[in-house]
Symmetry: D2
Subunit: 347 residues, 4 copies
């Protein structure tokens, strides 16, 4: 099956369906009758596999539908009504969730970013400034820290950076939460040193992205210490995030974690991205910044971009100057090496 | 494929997967690459089919994931911050959505029900009382009316009842919104005289339920006059209700409305429900109330119920008295006539 | 100073200014310079007097501006985002606060009332039904109980009733909160057996109404165990309820609790109400129901009411039948005995 | 009456009571009986005086209690649920209102500031970028613009700047709203060229600050075209912002606008601030930035500041460097020239 408009498709990582094993399992189990709302044995099996992959036997695992929804649910679950969430100013919740966090009454407390990341130092400085301000009780109480791994810029937190963030969070009593919408692309990346078990150890909650990583839809939230969020089921329902036929999510994560497929599913994306980066360098294009995962940010002269756009679907990132534009190319778990060949030809 | 615990399964209408045509189409289109967020040609085709089935060429059609989510999005879209929504005290939004409507700041203004329905008269009386109350501007402004077709009790609004509701809504300037979570079972019911075109003519918005009517998940909202809700896409995103791979929803509704399958898909459920009602009557059981659709409400003596429960999965409805319980049996689009045979034997 | 339109004024209990001691103190302290936001020595003195009157040395006392605001702040402070508040269906928060509780995302869980009161039994039944419902985690979690003393019907909880409510609240882990908008009229009522100390012992928070009880504005919230609500100051600010010149509230409560004036300030209202009730009985009017405090509910024939209304400002309560209306007469701390004389003449 | 701790008090502009005329009027009218909720003749008179001062006969004028409350009410009244408000990153709503705007579900869209102000150009650029972004419907819809006059930095918008902001707002269909918490100090400032009539002409709503400008409490919102906000009364009630004894606010604004007192009441503050600025310059202190109104921002060496702080109450603004601190001194309508003499001596 070809891209529907015959262009090469590198615009984003959610244009295809699901890993074939998922489609097969959906067909096989279709007429099975099981309890709703994620209380079925398939979901239970998926939960068990995820717990094992995370080295975290007691974790609560909940399956939600999409990333914005998961962030909104989890942030609302952790925060009290007067608390806000610290995030990079480029964080998904800061800009591209249409105010979903504020819709639950919580301010996003935006910190300056370094290629999409916030540092333990900048979080500590923010918290020190907050507590030093004589009027801090007129300000939004910083109630948790949000990061994404990989970030919206495709960059990665190193284990040491994550541990440093965790330390400052513990010092100030703040939960640390990681958005893993593209987590498979971190896990498949040679440069990455943060495992699922590390996330389970260092975060109070994180989610394992399905939608962009081989599933039709779905994100699996992992909460290492479930006592922290005693009524999460009701919170999920209240946010309209409870899937009646929850088995649909269970099936997908049960397949994604069968033989730890999830740890390898991102590899084709990384291989393809490396080839593209090498190709761009060879042709003299400027990368806007270096990222090790499945997103490539490249500066392109506008007239050249117009012609490029006739053959390739890409993502607009931002204006560079009057003559140039920054574009984003994304690969995914199912990127065809031949499509990469053709992209390199076009370049 | 049998029920996983070998019991007969009449507990609810969301225990199986999807209509086989949907599974086949999912497999066929799996590696197609299309735009995200419902902007793909499959969604467009599904929208076109729904518009045609509703006799409403200009309607906006949006695909959401679940019922509570759809209600929360649409009610928030119609209401201003100080407005509430009128609903039956038994309405799904009144009780079983964990406060999803209130989470957006809107009170549910509960009216007494008659087997799950509210009448035009009771709505008019509520509005007259509101406007006659000298302190009405200290009260929640009634901003819209919510009904469900069929209701949570499986009953149906007749066309004349719907027209009367519409008339009082128009008189007071209130949008009328219908929750069609089980709409296929209304449309397949011989007693029903309300078509999709009637809903499109008499409601300001309604949704066509997929989750309980043959889809894996998904509800299709129809807004006959889209100018009423200019930024609905952003509202959907803000509620965490925007599906990245929107095609998944498009595929399902494209199949459900291919050759108007949706108008017929509920028939097996209605046939099965009629057989069960007749069987219950023949064995001398009391129906708690009469309903024409796919839900059956029956009073059962407790000891008998205990034994019944060993063989049949049913839904608890409410305590009747110390010796009796009201239970709910539900059939669906895929109820096996042989399972009905066996149920009648158990009875 | 006469009523501005020369009618007798029994419409409500917030038509005059403040106790003369308050006005005098305001004038005396006017040019004093003190810290804002309630951090001044006058507020501290008022807090100390209130703590003493409540027999509760460790209580936190906060001064807010009005009743709806106080209810909204305190309910939001106690509840988590997914929790609702149990209240009588006639409770002020249920009807006459324009959805202020829902605006913070919390459902009001309305129970049937008996003359404005809810009983421990009905609360227990509600909680048992909730926990017995197999789908209770799809419902709003009952997170606290709201009562008012006196109620919106002018009735009083007896100490035994309050203790019973407290017992069921403790059993289920729910805070009990009392709205004391008209508390002075309870405390001055011979029938009352609930002291300030009882409220402090039996409630997790309650407020001592100023606005309707001799102040220009202001309500004093008492929280016997302040550890329960660690960031209340910020919550107050977030609700727009923090008064910059907080001293204005401190002055009023410092005067209202000088020599425990507050315990006596309602007496003229009670005396006047008793005279009116006796007069109504003597003239053969029907009381709609009996209440011991400063509100009188009376059934009046419509033509007679028309003429009565030419001479007396009264409150419309509700339609009784086509020929009769229920009206409310209210007395207050400053009701003039001569005005009562003239009212009795008019009757 | 001296400052209670005998220090010179320049920490803020809300430490004293009210203009003596207000106290006198409060005493005179105390036992008058009038309707509640701002429906009394005194409020009506105050409204009429304000309309006249604004040259705006048809304006709706509402009296609220405090600034944060007024901002929260008005922003919620103007915005739809999915909209946010554009403001300077230093705006009061951005930082010092404890998330009151987000508590109603609205994001504050923070723009860089120039001494507390935002320019028409920066607003236009923000809006252009928004509409040019292919994913703008995943972002918060910019629904209105918030400014303050004077700003939190004490600076003023010139009439031409305001007109330019109005032009871009009109181009994009956004209401323009001005927070006038300290408006009297703008109006009394020789440098100011924006009259009340200009504000009424160029803003869709603004408020005339009472709390910091001679009242005990209270802010008067002016809405030149009341049709824009048809149910404002209910919104005010919903926010807990409706004062039962509304007359208390009417009295204060009736006095503040008797003979246009409000236009002159800030003069002593401006005179005092100019003397202090001149004194600081003469002693070689650095102003952190120049402002023409009643706030003075000054850099002080830390050891010197310690000694200064023993004699003068000041406001901490921010750390300048390890050796220096930025402080704020504020004058007000009642600043005593002798206190300024003594302050200059201390310097």
């Amino acid at each position: 099956m070809k891209n529907i408009d015959e262009k090469l498709s590198f615009a984003c990582d959610y244009m295809k369906g699901a890993h074939p094993d998922i489609i097969r399992r959906l067909a096989e189990t279709n007429m099975m009758e099981t309890a709703g709302y994620g209380l079925d044995p398939v979901c239970e099996s998926a939960r068990e596999r995820i717990r094992r992959a995370c080295g975290c036997e007691d974790a609560e695992v909940e399956f939600l539908v999409g990333g914005t929804q998961t962030n909104a649910v989890m942030i609302d679950a952790f925060l009290r009504s007067y608390e806000g969430v610290i995030a990079a100013e480029t964080g998904h919740i800061s800009i591209h969730e249409a105010g979903a966090i504020e819709a639950s009454g919580h301010k996003v407390l935006a910190l300056p970013h370094e290629l999409g990341k916030i540092s333990a130092d900048s979080v500590r400085r923010y918290l020190e400034d907050y507590y030093n301000d004589a009027n801090h009780d007129h300000m939004v109480f910083p109630g948790m820290v949000y990061i994404s791994q990989p970030t919206e810029y495709g960059t990665l937190y190193a284990k040491a950076e994550l541990a440093a963030l965790k330390a400052v969070c513990e010092e100030y009593g703040l939960p640390l939460y990681a958005d893993g919408a593209r987590l498979a692309y971190a896990l498949a990346c040679p440069e990455n040193d943060v495992s699922l078990a590390d996330l389970a150890r260092l975060c109070d909650a994180f989610y394992i992205g399905g939608t962009k990583c081989g599933a039709l839809l779905g994100e699996a939230v992992v909460i290492p210490d479930p006592k922290r969020l005693p009524h999460l089921f009701t919170i999920i329902k209240q946010h309209g995030a409870l899937l009646a036929k929850g088995r649909l999510l269970g099936i997908q994560f049960d397949e994604l974690f069968r033989d730890d497929l999830y740890l390898r599913i991102g590899e084709p994306a990384i291989t393809a991205a490396e080839r593209i980066r090498a190709g761009l360098a060879a042709k003299g294009y400027d990368l806007y910044f270096e990222t090790p995962t499945n997103q490539i940010f490249c500066v392109m002269e506008n007239e050249r971009l117009r012609r490029f756009g006739e053959k390739v679907e890409y993502g607009f990132w931002e204006k560079y100057d009057d003559q140039h534009t920054v574009i984003r190319l994304a690969t995914d778990w199912a990127t065809d090496p031949e499509a990469v060949d053709r992209l390199l030809e076009v370049l």
